[in-house]
Assembly symmetry: C2
Amino acid sequence: MDANEHLTQAAGAARDASRVLARSPATARNAALRAMGDALRERMHPILAANEADVAAYAGTAAFRDRLTLTPARVEAMAKGLEDVAELPDPLDRTLADWTRPNGLRIRRIAAPIGVIGMIYESRPNVGADASALCLKSGNAVILRGGSDSIRSAAEINAALQTGIAAAGLPPAAVQTAPNADRAYVAAMLAGAGLIDLIIPRGGKSLVERVQREARVPVLAHAEGLCHTYIHAAADPAMARRIVANAKMRRTGICGATETLLIDRAIAPGLLPSIVDDLRALGCDFRADTAARAIVPGLTAARDADFDTEWLDAILSVAVVDGVDGALAHIAHHGSEHTDAIITEDAAAADAFLRGVDSAVALWNASTQFCDGGEFGFGAEIGIATGRIHARGPVGLEQLTTYRYVVTGTGQIRP
Amino acid sequence: MDANEHLTQAAGAARDASRVLARSPATARNAALRAMGDALRERMHPILAANEADVAAYAGTAAFRDRLTLTPARVEAMAKGLEDVAELPDPLDRTLADWTRPNGLRIRRIAAPIGVIGMIYESRPNVGADASALCLKSGNAVILRGGSDSIRSAAEINAALQTGIAAAGLPPAAVQTAPNADRAYVAAMLAGAGLIDLIIPRGGKSLVERVQREARVPVLAHAEGLCHTYIHAAADPAMARRIVANAKMRRTGICGATETLLIDRAIAPGLLPSIVDDLRALGCDFRADTAARAIVPGLTAARDADFDTEWLDAILSVAVVDGVDGALAHIAHHGSEHTDAIITEDAAAADAFLRGVDSAVALWNASTQFCDGGEFGFGAEIGIATGRIHARGPVGLEQLTTYRYVVTGTGQIRP
């Protein structure tokens, strides 16, 4: 069976399963999530054995090998993650709006599942289990296509999850995985209009950009997080130093990490040297514009392209800007509409920045690393979206739903 | 300048304009809408002259010619429509959610414009003015590409609208129209990822399907409205007759018109003959399954494909089904996820139907022709959406917005 045939069959089964999930009570979906956790624990040995085979076949970097490797503790964490999702509030059947028309028709907008989601991801095997949990909880079926390096692990994890779902009386086809590492399967998913309702890619920029470029199906994703922190003239210097150090260096590899520091010309001479010292002490390097280098001699000169670069590393681009308008102009030109912050004690300046920046998340006096579903209180996230429609910022259970209208009447006809 | 160059330039100007609109107060956008109405009245003569040229060049049907033709009254109605949109509530800056995290971060989800919208439409010249009004009110810039038959009318209307916008101090590039009827411009719009944030096609099924098939940009649309009315065994017969007559025959050419009647086996013998009589008196023809023809001899036999046909005409497909599950199975197989109704006095049956049907709009004891932005109380609509994400059902001002997060802190860093 070729990839297209397989996907068509899988998506048909997923569609049927999604209809069952859509009508299922939260108790049934939560029971399934707990049973999925139990099944992961029961199948610990085959999962670890499959993962060992993946790791043995892997020929890449040590860092990636570590991300690929499962241990009993990591499988237990996956199982615990499924149970945690079971505890979250039900995102379905929420009444989002409810009004009555003069003719007596009552119109309710009600949260409903999207349908069949395609998840294309790289690296960590746990992403498949996490995504399965969030999709099932939100009443969606999911078809997973993990990285070729973790194909054996993904298959064993999926088999365990399906066992759990079936044990709880829901259709195991709610959570399926690609049968092999054939790249044609990705192409079939991207072409799957009518079969798949939404694709969520999660991985490096090149994967996400390929999905965005080729998909015939709506995509929820972010290709990059080129986040800015702007220190306004009226910033509290101590707060600015603390936030910038955290925004850049807490974890440099996440999409919410600050990549560019914009510092106001009025405050830069007094503050930039301390910030450079702070970050140097944490191992950070710099790419600075001419004005910044005039204040702190010896910084590496920034090329234009540096301000368009998501470093995902201990490197900070630095530009001196003139006021909120200067910061907004820089961000509009170089940003990725992901997450941008202003640090200031001036509420009017903050307001101008928060209104003017066109990003999914705009922060005032806080670290850009807060752009995260857990930090937002969503309990879990399946990714971050920087597109303009449906959902922006962290994508949690609510964002995995759509809505439908239920209109109740007493025999009304339209005049 | 070729189509791609023109679109790139137009979209750049639209992006700049959209940023101005996004920050503009509602008073400024409303003033622009009123000035746009005034400008349409002031430019009545050139608009009618351009329209005369379009009509003179037109060689198609009389019905279409009528839709194409503008009169002073129709131009006045367009102007009035712009003023009506000015009176609607501002869809921007609504706080959609607002919560505070244990660490003191306050997170607000706030309605924001989508950005640059591409509108591809056929037929009536007023659609361009209506779409311009709704996009501008919701803070979005729009690039319009109307039908080639109305190209001169569209250009004059657009020139008037731009005059009004400029008079109110907002950027006229907020509302632009394709420079000619070149089909390459449509292709450029469909390929405009990064330039256009959302495409809204409005027209016949073949136009919409082409857009859905070829677009590299998110699309909000419905290709067809294959709407069902299901008469349950416990329906009030008089109400069922009244609703079916309205749902089918009030206007047969709109997407919310009922195309298929599903009637319960238990009630069909007593009720179907009267319904056939009612509709025949209104000029309706039938395509009926075997069971329906056994009850009302002489009805035309339905071919399988008839149940997949959106007639948009005085023709009704009729099938006898067994209970709510039978109706849901028929709709899941043949429906278009647009609008479907149940008629019953049995609340439990209604609930099972309303939960089980996967359409944008599900109705109980009301006509499917209520699927309309005006009837929903939106004041106006730009179309109807049957996709699974962002917006479903009537697309009004709220649905032309997205959201962004504004997070305010007091120096929080992420642990």
